[in-house]
Amino acid sequence: MQSESARAASAAEARFRIDAPNSQPRSIKVIALDRPSEAIVKRLATSVWGNTSFLTTLASAPPRDAPFSMRGWLADLAGHTKILVDEIEHADLVVMIATAGESIESTSIIGEACSLKRVMTTGLVVTAPSVPAAELSRSLAQLRPWALMLVVASAEDYIADMLMALRA
């Protein structure tokens, strides 16, 4: 007689797997940390996604001499200021997009906020063969303390594949 494991692992038995959704939509925030990444994020945002928002840090970083605040670090792609903590509070995942060699000063504030709110973070650095290793290292070093998963990709098409894989 066939064992339970042998029967259960057969292709015939696969037909009886329950065909019902097994997850709810996730809330994912994709944040561009620098100007080239903002362009990438804008291109990504033109596709149809589920509960995923695309944001940027560029336009809204407070002046250096302003008192510290977690407000005003983010903007949506139309340029409207967003409140960082409010944006990430209910997120399942924050994906920070950086381009190797670019300045990504706001990483720590976003990372700190995610850490405070116990939100999972992924850092994704897009690089090219022409980028010097030292510049890539600098980007990685800035992201490493704040990213629970860090990915170095040679092309931006990986980001779309990753978001799709994560059911964004």
Binding site: A9, A11, S23, A153
Partner: protein, 428 residues
């Protein structure tokens, strides 16, 4: 989540498929050398990439890998007589040489030259490092012979085994690059398995079960770095190599031999899991070899006379619920290899990836799929050779290192991630 059409692209590897074309760009391990131990020994059935083949070593020691079936009436040449420079079909005496060329049709006049018109499909078969390798792609695209380090060290420094895995190759391979499962599924084995225990680094693994991952593209595939806390604010890094399409090398522990795998499709529902262990600068000790033969480490015990694991789905993998409850094993299945295989086979022959819910720590898997899909498309659309074919992509090592927190492993461990003749792996 992966769309069905993308999953099909990678999981289906028979003739005429895009995924099959990808595998047909590489030298693939086909048999252990020990399966054809002497001239004129019995032929061996081989199924690879959904093609039924027969391997034999002729009277002069030359290796052949040919279509399994006689061109005359379609009987299996496995019943054939391996004699005097070829394999003779026992049905009507047709005889084939190692290239599949028919060299005798006894019922036809020799002068007719009829046998010259009969040729079975054949593939090159070459011996290297205790493995017989084949290349199943177009002859004009045949790459140089493989140069994996384990296959080039002296034989006493290397050990290879293979086992049948009753699942598609991709879900098996994805298990090999899924570093985050080790802290759960294999946690009982780090301190007990003779091929792992005793390494200082085991304590880092056991103390920190939530590693942080970094995935970086390499020329041939991926570096997958898992970072854990070490002393004085430093990080303990374990860097796994994945080289396309299905080679992995697991980071070393102490001075133990280094191990890794190939996952090679038999057909779409089954694959060969090849498992190697080697040490770059010393012979394996008798104790290590005995442990490997006894199914320790990443190897298995077999059903006698086969390459099927002794613990398999027909005996529920000999699951021991008491051991599971007592914490001696996490899943109740004994041995690292079958802990993995039992779960991967339980997914069904080809797992439905449209239903999975990957998370951020699965980026190694996501990136591997991405590179595979991209390479299949580049091969199909532009006839571009995929990564991993180039011998330079095979000159890789896994590594385990301790680094300061500000040093990226791809830079700080750069030398440790390539073969350096005469040196050990970087290990902790």
């Amino acid at each position: 989540m992966l769309k069905k059409e993308q999953s099909d692209l990678l999981t289906l590897t028979g003739p005429g498929t895009a995924g099959g074309r990808l595998f047909r760009c590489y030298w693939l391990p086909a048999l252990l050398s020990s399966e054809l131990p002497e001239n004129d020994c019995p032929p061996v059935r081989v199924k690879l990439l959904s093609e039924r083949l027969l391997a034999f070593r002729d009277s002069e020691g030359r290796l052949g890998l040919i279509d399994e079936f006689c061109a005359h009436r379609g009987v299996s040449l496995w019943f054939g007589r391996n004699e005097e420079g070829g394999l003779r079909c026992p049905y009507h005496g047709w005889k084939y040489d190692r290239t599949g060329q028919c060299i005798e049709v006894p019922s036809e006049p020799v002068e007719s030259g009829f046998c010259n018109k009969i040729k079975l499909k054949s593939y090159p078969l070459v011996e290297r490092g205790g493995v017989l390798w084949t290349y199943m792609g177009p002859a004009d695209k045949q790459p140089p012979l493989p140069e994996w380090e384990f296959a080039l060290v002296p034989p006493e420094q290397s050990f290879m085994s293979k086992r049948i895995q009753e699942s598609n190759w991709l879900q098996a391979m994805e298990g090999g690059i899924d570093s985050s499962h080790v802290s759960f599924l294999h946690r009982g084995d780090l301190n007990s398995d003779p091929l792992f225990r005793g390494a200082k680094a085991n304590q880092y693994n056991l103390k920190d079960s939530r590693p942080v991952f970094e995935v970086v593209e390499s020329p041939g595939g991926l570096f997958i770095g898992a970072r854990r806390n070490a002393e004085s604010g430093n990080y303990y890094w374990r860097i796994t190599q994945w080289v396309m399409p299905s080679f992995t090398m697991i980071p070393p522990r102490g001075d133990h031999p280094v191990h890794g795998h190939f996952w090679i499709p038999i057909d779409d529902d089954n694959c060969w899991t090849w498992s190697f262990d080697y040490h770059p600068i010393r012979a394996l000790s008798p104790g290590e070899v005995a442990a490997m033969r006894d199914g320790k480490g990443i190897h298995v015990k077999y059903e006698p006379g086969t390459f099927r694991p002794l613990a398999n789905k027909d005996n529920d993998y000999l699951i021991d619920r008491a051991a599971q409850k007592a914490g001696r094993t996490f899943s109740g299945v004994e041995g690292i290899a079958m802990q993995d295989a039992s779960l991967q086979e339980s997914m069904g022959p080809i797992v439905d990836r449209t239903k999975e819910n990957l998370v951020s720590t699965d980026n190694g898997i996501i990136m591997a799929r991405h590179r595979l899909v991209r390479s299949v498309k580049a091969l199909t659309d532009k006839d571009q050779a995929p990564p991993g074919v180039d011998n330079a992509h095979q000159q890789v090592r896994s590594a385990a290192v301790i680094l300061p927190p500000d040093r990226p492993f791809i830079e700080a461990a750069k030398d440790a991630l390539v073969v350096r003749a005469g040196t050990s792996h970087a290990s902790v």
